[in-house]
């Protein structure tokens, strides 16, 4: 996977915002999400929204590895004529559900998708939204954090990649999110077994938050 990421960036020194998401995204796409690269808009798929948008190279590498688009697309990362930008565009990339990059948009959209799935009777499907710890400084997130438990959205999971990138540290996220009514867990952000076990947890009426901890200085 890191080789694919290097193909996009041209070296193996990837920015922290991308490498910190790699393990969580791999576990999601390899073990959790029911998605079909041959039919990326299948009605019965699970939905994943990369809310933070930043550092999407790991996301792109995984989508390419799983067959959503040719690996050759990675060669034109951020280049004129390429489809893979520094923030993903849903109109250009198969498998990308939301065009993100401005922080604090994905969770509200995820709440809407979760409501829509419920309205359509798609009760087995789930919505997973990934935010960064610094992204949670944006106030719009906290509207949606307040709302999701009220709506009983058990089909919604928020992953917080806590790589301690926010200069003013305002964690603990599990305490904050728990106080808003989310079922919270904190796991080692590089531990695949722990991530899988955390992502599987699903309550019928309570949204789940998984804080994937990436110790400061570690990518």
């Amino acid at each position: 996977m890191r080789t694919l990421m290097a193909r996009a960036t041209g070296d193996e020194k990837h920015e922290e915002s991308s490498t910190s998401t790699l393990d969580a995204l791999w576990v999601l796409y390899d073990r959790i999400l029911r998605v079909d690269p041959a039919d990326p808009e299948a009605e019965d798929r699970d939905r994943f929204l990369l809310s933070k948008g930043h550092g999407p190279v790991a996301f792109y590498a995984i989508l390419a590895a799983k067959g959503f688009f040719p690996e050759a697309w990675l060669d034109a990362f951020m280049e004129h004529g390429g489809r893979l930008g520094s923030h993903p565009d849903r109109t250009l990339v198969p498998g990308v559900e939301a065009s993100t990059g401005s922080l604090g948009h994905g969770l509200a959209m995820g709440v809407g998708v979760a409501l829509a799935l419920r309205a359509k009777g798609l009760l087995e499907q789930r919505v997973v939204v990934l935010c960064g710890d610094a992204e949670l400084n944006e106030g719009s997130n906290w509207e949606a954090v307040l709302l999701a438990p009220h709506l009983g959205l058990g089909n919604l999971t928020l992953i917080v990649i806590d790589n301690h990138s926010s200069t003013p540290s305002m964690a603990s996220w599990t305490e904050r999110l728990g106080s808003f009514g989310w079922r919270t867990q904190v796991v080692d952000g590089h531990d695949h077994e722990a991530l899988e076990a955390a992502f599987i947890v699903r309550d019928e009426r309570v949204p789940a938050a998984v804080v994937a901890d990436i110790p400061e200085g570690e990518w």
């Binding site: 401005s102 948009h105 509200a108 709440v111 829509a116 799935l117 359509k120 719009s140 949606a144």
Partner: protein, 305 residues
């Protein structure tokens, strides 16, 4: 007919009629119009509380899943507070949705400028692809909402307390030529029509009525404009808002252009919307004076009437 009530009745009706409609509300208008709708269709009618950014984001989530979302609040909280969500979640992502702002430019006059939104149409026009509708009567709210809610494009509808004496058969992208004349062309938008007709009594002018800023009916305007005579827009929002769409039509014509609208200044005062109309020069008498000044700019005392 009251526009906000017309919106409430029509939006509720659409929830009942079309299972693809999702109504996302942020407290505003819930108790007046939507309690029964929420009780009957809680899966597609959601009052999320006072969080307008999330209202638009949630609406986008519904749109991503193939629903036709309708969101609504007072004009400043529908157009300004969640502006980036409108721009990105809908505009950039290419999703369709309907956003209905109530309160015109300063309908809630007694609340002060925190509740004014004379820039709403300007801001919405600045989002590529956002359609902007300006009904002038409750019946037009219903017609325009029904015509656009399922068109898979983002649409902002501006409703106001000011209404015209009569509703017209309106459609998005269509203007009506109501009068023909030789001295100039007036384009009245939405609720400005009745006072424009009153103001131009005795003047030899074309009068167009438009409820659609984008798409704008270029054909109708081009069909009546004469070389050398002025085109004057009568606008319920900041003056010059419609210039963006009207001047495109006039690019090849030697005409003067003027706008009669809300002056670009904060209002520090209270009363009713009609009190403020008089203060800012948008009552019928002021509109007549401003139209005359634009048609006859060299007339003594700035007026030919």
């Amino acid at each position: 007919m009251d526009m906000r009530a017309a919106f409430g009745r029509t939006a509720a009706g659409l929830v009942y009629e079309d299972p693809r409609v999702a109504l996302v509300l942020a407290e505003i208008s819930v108790s007046a119009y939507f309690e029964e709708t929420i009780a009957r269709h809680p899966e597609r009618t959601v009052n999320i509380g006072i969080m307008e950014q999330t209202m638009v984001g949630v609406a986008a989530g519904f749109a991503m899943e193939g629903f036709y979302p309708i969101a609504h609040s007072l004009s400043p909280f529908m157009s300004e507070r969640p502006y980036e969500q409108l721009k990105l979640d809908f505009g950039y992502q290419g999703l369709g949705g309907t956003f209905v702002g109530s309160g015109g430019s300063y309908d809630y006059a007694a609340e002060g400028a925190t509740h004014h939104a004379a820039a709403d149409a300007t801001l919405m026009l600045a989002i590529p692809g956002m359609e902007v509708l300006v009904p002038g009567h409750g019946s037009e709210v219903e017609a325009l909402l029904r015509a656009t809610y399922a068109n898979d494009r983002p649409t902002y509808m501006r409703t106001s307390m000011a209404v015209n004496a009569h509703g017209f058969e309106v459609a998005p992208g269509r203007s009506e030529v109501l009068r023909r004349g030789a001295s100039g062309t007036l384009v009245a938008f939405g609720p400005m029509l009745s006072r424009t007709l009153e103001a131009c009594e005795g003047l030899d002018v074309n009068v167009l009525y438009s409820t659609s800023l984008r798409p704008f009916d270029a054909t109708a305007l081009a069909s009546v404009v004469d070389h050398g005579t002025p085109v004057i827009t009568i606008e319920p929002f900041y003056e010059g808002t419609a210039a963006m769409v009207v001047t495109e039509v006039l690019a090849h014509l030697p005409v003067r252009f003027a706008s009669v609208g809300v002056p670009r200044a904060f209002i520090h005062g209270y009363g009713t919307w009609s009190d403020l109309d008089a203060d800012v020069g948008l009552d019928a008498a002021s509109v007549r004076r401003r139209i005359s000044d634009a048609i006859y700019p060299n007339a003594r005392n700035g007026s030919a009437s």
